[in-house]
């Protein structure tokens, strides 16, 4: 039973994101009667400070969070893996240059660099994806580099080299496939990190702009009415917490299956 709970939560999240636009939702409909109204049978999660239905906005927010999470993890995961794997395989100056760049990026607390970048790029969902990807690739690059360093002297790689395979072929066909498992674990935890980062930046006003609903901006706007309408903050927060918990549980499970994660902590 508990095995399927995280998967169910993630399915609802993805489902809301993908099917949401087809549903008869009105996340921006202003109803003065529903102003700051608590949950009721007709309005399951109540209304916000403009009387907009909180449930509809929650579903709309799932879409933002899902697409930002998927785009950022795919973009930064692929870029980071390619850079890290290539640098480790080529070695020498390419590798040490990448190492220096990675060190500089790692010297920023991740969320801080994301805040600075999205502040300078200007608010908006697209810029948010750019900022979070620019911050996110470093982790994958580091992990892919470490993985490739440990496998590049294996017999099958040497054999491919002896057979005259090109560098690109070796990196894509013989190195990256063997490094995929830990990268997948990293990417799973990456999804959780991006969900929180997106909501956090939107909370600071740097993400999705009104009237687009995002879980983070819902918390930002709702926290002004906390005494009269706590549901405005509780509902989106619970949504974030449930999805992030589900992702982290899934990550833990993948990690148990694939063995220990080698990223993050360490020198």
């Amino acid at each position: 039973m508990t095995r399927w709970l995280p998967i169910a939560v993630l399915a609802v999240w993805a489902g809301a994101a993908l099917v949401g636009p087809l549903l008869p939702l009105e996340p921006s409909r202003v109803t003065l009667d529903a102003l700051l109204q608590g949950p009721s049978p007709g309005l399951w999660l109540g209304g916000d400070e403009l009387g907009r239905p909180v449930l509809d906005r929650l579903v709309a927010g799932a879409r933002v969070s899902f697409f930002v999470a998927v785009s950022v993890v795919v973009l930064s995961g692929i870029t980071g893996t390619l850079l890290g794997a290539t640098a480790a395989y080529l070695g020498g100056r390419v590798d040490s240059t990448l190492g220096r760049i990675v060190d500089v990026f790692l010297a920023f607390p991740g969320i801080l660099l994301a805040i600075a970048l999205s502040a300078l790029l200007g608010p908006g969902v697209f810029n948010l994806v750019v900022a979070l990807s620019l911050v996110g690739w470093v982790g994958y690059a580091r992990l892919a580099r470490a993985q490739v360093l440990s496998i590049r002297q294996r017999d099958h790689v040497l054999a491919a080299e002896a057979l005259g395979a090109g560098r690109a072929r070796i990196v894509f066909r013989h190195l990256i496939p063997l490094a995929v498992a830990p990268l997948l674990v990293e990417a799973t935890f990456g999804v959780a990190a991006v969900i929180v980062a997106e909501a956090g930046l939107s909370f600071l006003g740097l993400g999705a702009q009104p009237p687009t609903a995002s879980w983070g901006s819902m918390i930002r706007e709702g926290s002004r009415y906390m005494l009269v309408a706590p549901h405005l903050v509780i509902a989106p927060g619970m949504a974030i917490l449930l999805v992030v918990l589900a992702v982290n549980l899934t990550g833990d499970r993948l990690q148990d299956r694939f063995g220990r994660r080698t990223g993050r902590a360490g020198s």
């Binding site: 502040a119 982290n248 902590a265």
Partner: protein
Amino acid sequence: MDFLVRRLFSALVTVVGVATLVFFLIHLIPGDPVDRILGDSARPADREALRTALGLDAPVSVQFGDFLSGLARLDLGDSIVSGRPVASLIAQHLPATLQLAAAALAIALLVAVPLGVIAARRRGTRLDSLAMGFSLLGVSIPNFWLGPMLILVFSLWLGWTPVSGREGLASLVLPALTLGTSLAAVLARMVRSSLLEVLEEDFMRTARAKGLDENTVVWRHGLRNALLPVVTLVGLQLGALLGGAVITETVFAWPGIGLLLVDAIQARDYPVVQGCVLTISTTYVLVNLGTDLIYGVIDPRIELTEST
């Protein structure tokens, strides 16, 4: 000694790299930064004045040189909004952030060490899964939600603590709790797994064979060794702590460098934004340098060689 010199040098290189990136951030702004700051309706004279004030009329290489030589004198330029030197604004706000971070770290350690030790000693029991469940919850709960929830319960409903601001010790409790929770969760996991590894070691069996009671064995012999990797993790996690401080300070209107940064972003006060980002990152680099050096002192078994 050789290690010390190399480690200091590598930290210096990183700080210079960080400064370079921070400098070029302002040039990442799409279009003209002057337009972004003043808007479209500004008079040409104002534009030119701001352009000169920001030094944007000089070639980039000259600007970069000025920026670096300013840094060497701890001169970070002046705020566009208030006209005050950025360095003095930061000096004024930094103590509040350091106080908050220290309090959060203290809370995290006070929670994480006992929790991790209990979980490791009662491995596989319900107590263990309860502790690790709490840890998973702590890692997953975002601080911009935990903060408002704590305010709701302890400030609005119970009336025990102030809603926001920095007046007296009571106002520190909720922000420190908000900031410290995820660190406590991460550290508890680390203490548990690290202690579990140490408990298997031969010297633990020896300590037991000497007839020491289990508490002395675990706390004196086990934990002292188990905490070594935890020290490294604390250093690395302080980055997340400093980053999280930006959001936590915004939630509680805590007058630290994070709030200064967020206010500066809203006012498009780019010199202040640059100064804050640079200060927080440099602090993080220095903390990690400190952790590495401490690590060398407390664990003589480790041969300190240059890490990549």
